[in-house]
């Protein structure tokens, strides 16, 4: 009967080290694979993601009025701009802007077609901390004013004064017919 000999440790590595590392790696993958479903379940569910478009009938919005609609749980301004507001917005394309953008770029439809100057469709959360600004007739820049920390937006929804870092982002939309748009 052969005597049991300790396995040689030449080079400091042997089969057992490999087994340890392989088992450890397999266990790490197993833990990761088990943890992932419990982490990912917190991401938006399929029905939440399915609510990704909102259709708006424009006939109900008179000139100079705006409505707030909910899109993906967030408010969106749909504003029917007056000729005066459009003129102010276009004139200020060349004013000193914190986040320079031309009015025409802000009404482009989601499919790349140019929009219509009288319809301005913006995501309504202030880019500072997410409050909803109010449209104030005769405010310093003629547009929206955020009551939380005093950010002033112009008639194109561009940031003009206050702590907000960026313009109100346009909501992605397309005209379905002359009198209705789809947001999202």
């Amino acid at each position: 009967m052969a005597e049991a000999k300790p396995i040689a440790h030449e080079g400091g590595e042997d089969r057992r080290d490999f087994i340890f590392i392989a088992a450890g790696a397999a266990a790490a993958v197993g833990v990761g694979a088990t943890a992932w479903p419990f982490i990912d379940q917190m991401n938006p569910a399929a029905d939440t993601r399915a609510l990704s478009t909102t259709e708006v009938d424009l006939t109900a919005i008179e000139l100079g009025q705006q409505i707030k609609v909910m899109w993906q749980g967030k408010p969106v301004f749909v504003r029917h701009r007056t000729a005066n507001e459009i003129a102010t917005a276009q004139r200020d394309d060349y004013a000193t802007l914190k986040d320079p953008q031309k009015d025409a770029e802000r009404i482009v439809q989601d499919d790349g077609q140019p929009g219509r100057a009288e319809w301005l469709i913006l995501q309504a959360n202030c880019t500072h901390l997410g409050c909803v600004p109010t449209f104030v007739e005769g405010s310093s820049f003629g547009g929206w004013f955020c009551p939380c920390h005093g950010s002033d937006y112009d008639t194109s929804g561009r940031i003009r004064r206050g702590p907000a870092p960026a313009n109100l982002p346009p909501a992605p939309y397309v005209f379905l017919t002359d009198t209705s748009v789809r947001i999202g």
Binding site: P44, G73, K74, P75, L129, G130, C131, S140, P147
Partner: protein, 530 residues
């Protein structure tokens, strides 16, 4: 610290149990025989109050969960129903809401106590870190709980705080959506906040067990900061500490009861009695009082730091203001534990407490509020009478416009115009106008704020408008000491205290001499002699 157990089972049953599960022995050694320093003052009684607070919150919370509905359409009404219709709901709901405030009140005193008497120093680092962890968990739990009544403040606080996470680079937006479970605060958010709000108190209870375990391993610190030297320096936990804690806790419970029975809403915000409305932002969004100092730190950063924008800088500072507590044991270099014997550190500590209260004040104020009176003034120049001439401006390119406009203005001025101005109408086009003839007029206005100044300028313009088409307005804006400036000063001191004052002071400060009666265990000798 505890030494060998002195527990002796008295009856047959306890002897039988002690061989199988020595739980009575553990309780006896932890809460009866446990040696506690003789010289503990009343600042050492807040630990028991905190245990009581945790029990009150868990018991009242479990009861509330039997009646609360975590649904965006029913949550607000279900809380009102608890208060009005559920038997004793009028008692239990305010107990939970006021209890949160009381919990934080006690924890702040407990933390300041640890800071002053150096309870974070070796060998109590792990004890201190576990305490910091409990505090961080309390903050998260309180934030989650505040969103559950689904009032305006609940909704908008949740919106603002999750937006803050969105400021983190690269991963911010994914984390924000992951936490909300959608693009905005909605049903998914409310549901998970409820689940986590129910879970976290039990996690806190677990960490509290570790906190007490660590405490009983290293022993309690005491006001002198000198380790107990012999058994004669200590007394058994029961009855000495037990009765003292009970007395202090009774006073604390009286304060609790005053708020709960007589002013249950005094510590909350009135806007949380308005149902959450995603389309309408309340005029001001503020957290509960116990988180105001951190809100002030967040808002103190209204400037960019290199590549870090103001929003991210505020977020980093807010997290750092809690994070710095975790590394405090390695920041303070002083060999003397208690600030009772550190004359300079003592003064810096008093300022630190005032700074924390000051930050709390700032967090509750409108950041633009001017604290020191300032005078804003402006001079209006205009020409009465006179004739307006307009010249078109056209440039070769977008970049060349400014040059072309100033050349046109110069030309008008050269022709003798008293006032010139230009406005841009397109990429390369604009108009320059000059006023010729007439009489030059000037008027100064002043006001206390920028808004009032603008109003005063508007009035002056209207008064003179009939005769003058153009005005040149020079505004003089003084340095104004606003709430934001104050927050910046206080935030600077907050971090200075931990990152500069404590590390440097420990090396250079000459401590006071510890009295001989403390340095030597005289009570032990006296006891031995008698």
């Amino acid at each position: 610290m505890s030494g060998p157990s002195t527990y002796e089972p008295k009856s047959g049953f306890t002897r039988w149990l002690d061989k199988r599960l020595p739980i009575l022995r553990l309780s006896h050694d932890s809460f009866v025989a446990y040696p506690t320093p003789r010289n503990l003052n009343y600042w050492w009684t807040f630990g028991s109050m905190l245990s009581l607070c945790l029990v009150v919150q868990i018991v009242s919370g479990v009861v509330l969960a039997m009646h609360y509905i975590p649904h965006i359409d029913f949550a607000f009404d279900s809380v009102q129903r608890i208060k009005r219709d559920v038997p004793y709901g009028w008692l239990i709901q305010p107990m939970h809401a006021v209890g949160a405030s009381m919990f934080f009140l006690a924890v702040y005193v407990h933390m300041f106590r640890g800071l002053y008497y150096g309870s974070y120093k070796a060998p109590r680092e792990v004890l201190w870190i576990l305490g910091c962890l409990i505090y961080a968990l309390m903050v998260v739990t309180a934030f989650l709980g505040y969103s559950l009544p689904w009032g305006q403040m609940s909704f908008w606080a949740a919106t603002v705080i999750t937006n803050i996470l969105g400021a983190l680079p690269f991963v911010g937006e994914s984390i924000q959506v992951w936490i909300r479970g959608g693009g905005a605060i909605d049903q998914a958010t409310l549901n998970r906040f409820f689940s986590l709000h129910y879970l976290l108190p039990f996690v806190i209870a677990g960490v509290v067990a570790l906190h007490i375990w660590a405490l009983h391993e290293v022993g309690q610190n005491n006001p002198t900061g000198v380790e107990v030297k012999s058994k004669a320096d200590t007394v058994p936990f029961t009855p000495h500490a037990t009765i003292k804690d009970l007395f202090a806790t009774s006073l604390f419970v009286i304060l609790f009861a005053v708020f709960m029975f007589y002013m249950p809403d005094a510590l909350g915000h009135a806007d949380n009695y308005i149902r959450a409305n995603p389309l309408q932002t309340p005029p001001e969004i503020v957290p509960e009082w116990y988180l105001l100092p951190f809100y002030a730190v967040l808002r103190a950063f209204d400037f960019n730091i290199g590549p870090i924008d103001s929003k991210l800088a505020g977020v980093i500072a807010m997290f750092a203001s809690i994070g710095v507590l975790f590394v405090l044991p390695w920041l303070d270099t002083s060999k003397v534990r208690s600030m009772r014997y550190r004359p300079i550190a003592q003064q810096c500590f008093v300022i630190f407490v005032a700074v924390c209260i000051g930050l709390g004040f700032c967090g509750g104020q409108n950041p633009g509020r001017i604290l020191a009176p300032a005078t804003f003034s402006a001079t209006l120049n205009w020409v009465e009478g006179g004739e307006v001439r307009q010249e078109p401006v056209s440039a070769d390119s977008d970049a060349g416009y400014a040059e072309a406009a100033s050349a046109a203005e110069q030309a008008l001025r050269g022709q003798g115009a008293a006032l010139v101005a230009s406005s841009r109408t397109g990429e390369t086009t604009g108009a320059a106008r000059g006023v010729f003839g007439g009489t030059a007029r000037s008027q100064s206005v002043s006001a206390g704020t920028m808004e009032e100044l603008d109003a005063a300028i508007g009035e002056a313009k209207t008064a003179a408008a009939a005769s003058a088409p153009y005005f040149i307005v020079e505004r003089r804006v003084p340095f104004t000491f606003t709430v934001t400036r104050l927050s910046q000063l206080l935030t600077a001191y907050y971090f200075l205290f931990f990152l500069v004052i404590l590390p440097v002071l420990g090396l250079i400060e000459t401590p006071r001499r510890v009295p001989d009666t403390i340095a030597k265990p005289v009570t032990g000798q006296a006891a031995g002699a008698s």
